[in-house]
């Protein structure tokens, strides 16, 4: 009964000052919608960034790690207390690349998280056209799998990706590389390996990914052609690229796969710390900015509730004189701010969604983007609402506490 009465008083306070109530609601609305918008936008930017990065980068990557530190091999054999004299030391044999890729692929491909595996033979080469010679990487790839993992085919600007399957002598060149070598479609290019082997390829496609490492230095050929170029047998690869369902679990999957494979299994965030750091920093900025906005909204509510308490101080005194206790008074004022919080939260979620939709239509033609990226994650909406409620609750509690401590005698006697 007394609770109903308290609610009635709260409602009377709210409705008797519509303007102030509106301002308080608006400040919460603004805070929450900015939180939603900022987070949606930042997640969108992060996802775009990641998607771009994953156009050449696999989630997991198996390769033959460089041999360990071999500068002091003798010490390992003879111990530190023996003096050994050795001149002109050389490593005479170590294995490059992965010899028996089929076995490794067979060992890992039934892992449930894996969505795609593709072998690669990456060779450092010189691309030559007449007198122009450029350093670059020739990537021998499985035409279908490569495009399945990285969507490479959609970055082709001229020629055709799939025609590589029919032509062992066809090469797809990065746009910048082709330009520097003055090559166009159907021209010939000479590829020279570190061992001095050279071979002619025909340019059957030009690719443009906006990633410098690909556009300015990479050429794709069929994997068999690459093996042939460096005189390696069937089954030889330098890298096995693996995509998994959720790239955020790459490190976890990497540790699960590691025991099955005698080579190095590396997750994308291990080899590209800067991507992860960039994502994390952007997320921190988004959260910091939106929490600051919510905090400011909280101060707004605090201010308004404080004014209300001061304005209603005589009513509070008389309520206490009539027998309403501290808890009732806190309830009366807390309910007001929670109502403001809930209404502001609901309107804020709607408004935040509308702003996000609006912004997602703003044209932004960079790389693969047409408009600004935006993500609609229900979790952001729920969190925004919860944070909004917490803010209004705290902002309302302090003035309510103050109201509950009003001494009726002091107020009534004046």
């Amino acid at each position: 009964m007394s609770r109903v009465t308290n609610l009635k008083i709260s409602r009377a306070h709210l409705t008797s000052r519509v303007k102030q109530t509106m301002v308080a609601i608006l400040s919460v609305t603004f805070g929450i919608s900015m939180y939603i918008f900022m987070n949606g936008f930042m997640t969108g930017v992060n996802d775009t960034q990641t998607e771009l990065a994953f156009s050449t980068l696999a989630h997991l990557h198996i390769y033959n790690d460089l041999p360990e530190d071999n500068t002091n091999l003798l010490q390992k054999k003879y111990g530190e207390d023996k003096l050994v004299n050795l001149r002109n030391a050389k490593v005479i044999q170590y294995t490059e690349g992965i010899k028996n890729s089929a076995k490794i692929i067979a060992a890992i491909e039934d892992h449930p998280a894996i969505t795609g595996i593709t072998p690669q033979v990456n060779v450092n080469v010189f691309f030559r056209n007449g007198a122009t010679k450029l350093n670059g990487v020739l990537s021998g790839i499985d035409v279908k799998q490569e495009s399945f993992l990285f969507g490479t085919e959609k970055y082709i600007t001229e020629g055709s990706w799939s025609s590589m399957e029919d032509r062992g002598d066809g090469v797809v060149l990065g746009a910048g590389l082709a330009e520097k070598l003055s090559l166009t479609l159907d021209d010939n290019v000479t590829v020279i390996t570190a061992d001095g082997v050279s071979r002619n390829f025909k340019v059957i496609g030009i690719i443009k990914t906006t990633i410098g490492g690909v556009d300015n230095a990479k050429g794709y050929v069929r994997i068999s052609s690459a093996r042939q170029l460096i005189s390696k047998n069937q089954g030889y690869v330098t890298d096995i690229q693996i995509n998994i369902k959720n790239f955020n679990e790459a490190t976890k999957v990497a540790t699960q796969l590691a025991p099955k494979v005698s080579y190095k299994v590396e997750s994308w965030n291990e080899s590209n710390g800067q991507l992860q750091a960039g994502n994390d920093l952007r997320n921190i900025i988004a959260v910091a900015v939106s929490l600051t906005i919510l905090l400011v909204a909280g101060f707004g509510i605090f201010n308004i509730m404080n004014m209300t308490v001061n304005e209603k101080i005589k009513e509070i005194a008389i309520l206490k004189a009539m027998g309403f206790d501290g808890t009732d008074i806190i309830q009366i004022f807390l309910v007001q701010s929670v109502i403001i919080g809930v209404i502001g939260g609901i309107v804020g979620i709607t408004f935040g969604y509308l702003v996000s939709v609006l912004v997602s239509y703003i044209p932004f033609r960079v790389a693969t983007l047409d408009t600004l990226p935006m993500v609609y994650d229900p979790q952001d909406y729920i969190l925004a609402f919860i944070f909004g409620l917490i803010t209004t609750f705290v902002a309302g509690y302090l003035p309510a506490k103050k109201a509950s401590q009003v001494d009726p005698v002091e107020i009534i006697r004046g």
């Binding site: 009377a12 409705t15 009732d328």
Partner: protein, 226 residues
Amino acid sequence: MNEEIALSARAICKYFHEPETFQVLKDISFDVKKGEFLSMIGKSGSGKSTLLYLLSTMDTDYTGEITINGECLTGRTQNQLAAFRNAHIGFVFQFHYLLPEFTALDNVMLPALKLGRKSEEEIREDAYSNLKLLGLEAQAMKQSNKLSGGQQQRVAIARALINQPAVIMGDEPTGNLDSKNTDIVFDIFRQLAAERGQTIIAVTHDDEFAQKSDRILEMADGRILN
């Protein structure tokens, strides 16, 4: 009037500490009988209002002992006292202190809703009959800030009566009223004391008002004179 004691004060002392320590009430003891209409008079600063607020349980900073309706109230917590006031004490102040957003009827209902002993319907009926007693039935559904000063004061009295308190306390209850309204209020108090056996304690500056009451407690310099 019967001989039952409604309120008793024993050895009440109170000090003000601001701006300097000063004894406002000096060893005050008295009893008020059930159904008695008591007026407290005295010059400003004599301590009569201070005493009233101690009796009202709102001010707990004193020494001595206060008993109302046989219950000793000294040393209870604020929330216990609030509950006690709600059930047993009614207040009328010089200013009405009605909630301006509420109708006269809603204002009167407030303390009873807080008490929660009756259903809302019963409370509404009680409140309406209280307003009727004070000649305000036509004003029941009006918003309280739309009423005249005299009407507001009478609504405040109706509110003080709603829980049928044992003691009704007034701090200059007629201070803001013209003589006609003062007479109405006085008659109501008189009637309540006589017919319902409710004890009335009123601080007043109005000698005529005091003369008509059952007993006068005159205060000077923190002591009772008579």
